[in-house]
């Protein structure tokens, strides 16, 4: 209806004001094309009119940017300032209201109806596609670049064939000259020349050979030769095709090579001139081949576990060997030292130098560096805790770190000292071990030896509930095996410790005494 279309101004500009003011407002109430739902509700438009509004003529700047431009764009639009689309659009819009004017493509991304204009603008709106269409060039035909060659359907024969069969194939004309007249692949038709014999030769040469456990009949030998010729001496295939009673691959090989050998030798005049022939030069060793194949399959069949096991065993063996070497070296050093010390009791005399220390590979080296690294190696070899003890002891002697003036005498003396300290520590450890052993034995002796000792111990112990703890005390004493044994063992160990202390060393606490005296269990009376 006319009312639905709006005032002439509106019709021209393509706008419709919702405001019901007949005169038109001043300034005019502007309604965006994409009216909000509120407006829509106030002024329902037909779908057709809505579409008509949006239609515009083909001229003018792209309007898709509109969505994000805000109020100004609307004003421009109405006044037709921007590319004159307003005035033109109106007419076209009107004209196109009736007939669909699909000349212009619809903006691809229209604002969804539920969203407000601003919201739609935020999403980026209807933008022109920025990506060039990729499929543009795919269906184009490739330019023909290379020369075109004529191909000919040609008949050919192959020299590799024996039956003279004529086949045909496509062949390129210019290549024909290269290939020549024969079939190109006939050159690969190579065959191995297998030894042949006739009856007479066979009887003369081969049958003489036929001693031993393995008897080959003439028939078998012939069959073997035939297969060999057929299959180019591929023994595995021949073995597969072997018709007669079962023979192994090695047996086939053995028979073939011995026959070939015998024949060749009998044919040539001078055995020596044939000595370069491979059949003669390398004789086939039947037993060896069987063993070899067995070994090969075993080697291939080793599981990863077995391989790693072997590796580990080898490493372990190497380590043990190293250790044994070191032990031997140290023991010898010890023996030399003792010998030398026994010889000159005089402390001023130079002590025997260490001979077994590793020398560097280089032709020239720095003595100080070498002394330092060797000392570190020795300490590391002794173990982490021992290394610390060694350092501590060196510090006490005033020899912290490597010597400052590493002359020959000083370096050797220093390293010998390091070795001796390590040995001393080892003896200490050994002493501790042996003392533990002794104490254990003593405990066993006491435990087996009867009830006296526990009582004695009880009286000795300041437990304070002697009579009361009689029965309980026994069980307690059974637990406290360190009591009397500990005391007894304390004396020699204590003497040892005292003597050690005299030398200014800290004592390595032997574990026998290190076992803490367990606290007396609480008796009910206490």
């Amino acid at each position: 209806t006319k009312e639905a279309l709006g005032t002439p101004l509106e019709r021209r500009s393509g706008w419709r004001s919702v405001c019901q003011n007949e005169e038109g407002c001043s300034p005019p109430c502007v309604v965006e094309r994409d009216a909000s739902p509120a407006h829509r509700a106030a002024a329902p438009l037909s779908a057709g009119e809505g579409k008509a509004r949006r239609r515009r003529s083909g001229t003018g700047p792209p309007r898709e940017r509109r969505a994000g431009q805000g109020q100004m764009s609307d004003v421009r639009d109405i006044l037709g300032v921007d590319g004159g689309a307003g005035g033109k659009g109106g007419k076209a819009g009107k004209g196109g209201a009736g007939a669909a004017a699909p000349k212009r493509p619809k903006p691809k991304a229209r604002k969804p109806k539920g969203m407000s204009r601003e919201a739609y603008a935020l999403t980026g709106g209807a933008l022109p596609p920025a990506v060039p269409v990729a499929s543009a060039g795919l269906k184009e035909r490739r330019k023909v670049e290379r020369r075109r060659y004529p191909w000919v359907w040609k008949e050919f024969t192959s020299s590799a064939r024996t039956d003279g069969l004529k086949l045909s194939h496509w062949s390129r004309e210019d290549r024909e000259k290269e290939h020549g007249t024969d079939y190109y692949f006939a050159r690969y038709n190579k065959a191995i020349e297998v030894v042949t014999y006739d009856d007479e030769e066979y009887q003369r040469v081969v049958e003489c050979m036929d001693t031993g456990a393995d008897i080959w009949s003439r028939k078998e030998t012939d069959h073997l030769m035939e297969l060999a010729a057929r299959f180019d001496l591929r023994f595995v295939v021949m073995h597969d095709r072997w018709d007669l009673p079962q023979r192994s691959v090695e047996q086939l090989k053995h028979r073939y090579y011995s026959v070939a050998r015998a024949l060749l030798l009998s044919r040539c005049a001078d055995p020596r001139e044939m000595s370069d022939h491979p059949v003669i030069k390398e004789s086939y060793n039947f037993n060896h081949e069987i063993q070899r194949k067995r070994a090969l399959s075993a080697a291939l069949g080793r599981t990863r576990a077995m391989v790693e096991e072997d590796k580990r065993v080898i490493e372990e063996a190497a380590r043990i060997r190293e250790r044994r070497k070191e032990e031997a070296a140290r023991k010898e050093l010890l023996r030399d030292e003792r010998g030398a010390a026994a010889k000159d009791a005089d402390a001023e005399a130079a002590m025997a130098p260490a001979r077994e220390l590793p020398r560097p590979d280089e032709g020239r080296y720095l003595r100080g560096e070498w002394a330092k690294t060797t000392a570190a190696q020795l300490q590391a070899g002794a173990g982490a805790r021992s290394a610390k003890r060694v350092e501590q002891l060196l510090r006490e002697y005033g020899l912290e770190g490597a010597p400052t003036t590493p002359t020959k005498a000083v370096s050797e003396a220093y390293l010998s000292l390091a070795i001796e300290i390590i040995e001393t520590l080892e003896i200490q450890k050994r002493l501790a071990r042996v003392e533990t052993e002794l104490q254990q034995l003593r405990n066993e002796a006491n435990a087996a030896g009867g009830a006296q000792l526990p009582d004695v111990g009880m009286l000795g112990m300041p437990m304070g509930a002697g009579a009361l703890g009689g029965a309980l005390g026994h069980s307690a004493m059974g637990v406290m095996s360190t009591g009397p044994a500990g005391e007894a063992a304390a004396t020699p160990a204590g003497a040892g410790r005292a003597s050690k202390k005299r030398k200014g060393e800290e004592s390595v606490t032997p574990r026998s005494d290190g076992k803490r005296q367990r606290k007396a269990p609480r008796l009910p009376g206490e």
Binding site: E337, A347, T405, A409, A413, L417, Q428, E444, P492, G496
Partner: protein
């Protein structure tokens, strides 16, 4: 060229740095005047040119031409600077030694241990950091070996300027200390062994009695 089997020749040397604080003339970029050197330690001001053909000092990359080669003694490089860094010293031997050059490294020391930041330093007394070591030639070539053995240690014609400040070496004190330590260790060891013997004897006694 035959080599002397099982023989060895050693050349004692000392290398390090000697640094003077520049006092009034010090600037931010050059507060110390220091010298890195390599010298013979066998005798006073020893001339090492019979063994050493040239010494190459590798300074910090911020110095112009950081690789300095010195071909005649005294093997020294003197520079001014403000920072401490690692200096590489490569000693090239005479050709008849037929040995690869030896590489050493030494940290340039400008401040004494425990020096407080900003504390004043003397301009007369330098900060010296030196290391003594000996180059040992194992199984040297015969010509080289004989030449070294016949060589008489000579002092330098022009002694180095820093020579008076450098320490002298004597290994007798150290030998004495080490020998004392060895003696003590040997005593301890003998004692411990005696103890071990005693305890083991007891163990054997107990064991023997029981089983």
């Amino acid at each position: 060229m035959p080599r002397v089997e099982g023989g060895e020749v050693s050349v004692p040397l000392a290398y390090g740095t000697c640094s003077f604080y520049m006092g009034k003339k010090a600037t931010d970029s050059a507060s110390h005047k220091w010298t890195v050197y390599l010298r013979g330690a066998g005798c006073e001001d020893e001339d090492l040119s019979h063994v050493v053909s040239k010494v190459v000092f590798g300074l910090h990359t911020s110095f112009k031409q950081p690789t300095r080669t010195v071909e005649s003694p005294p093997y020294e490089v003197t520079e001014t600077g403000w920072g401490e860094f690692d200096i590489t010293i490569t000693v090239h031997f005479q050709p008849d030694a037929n040995e690869k050059p030896l590489e050493l490294a030494h940290m340039l020391k400008l401040y004494e241990d425990g020096h407080q930041q900003g504390a004043p330093q003397s301009t007369k007394k330098p900060v010296v950091s030196e290391k003594y070591d000996e180059v040992v030639f194992l199984e040297p070539e015969e010509t080289f070996h004989s030449r070294l053995n016949n060589h008489v240690a000579m002092p330098l014609a022009t002694p180095s300027t820093i020579a008076p400040f450098l320490p002298k070496y004597d290994d007798r004190a150290e030998i004495a200390k080490i020998q004392e330590a060895r003696r003590k260790t040997a005593e301890q060891k003998a004692e411990l062994e005696a103890q071990v013997e005693a305890v083991e004897a007891e163990v054997r006694g107990l064991r023997g009695g029981k089983y």
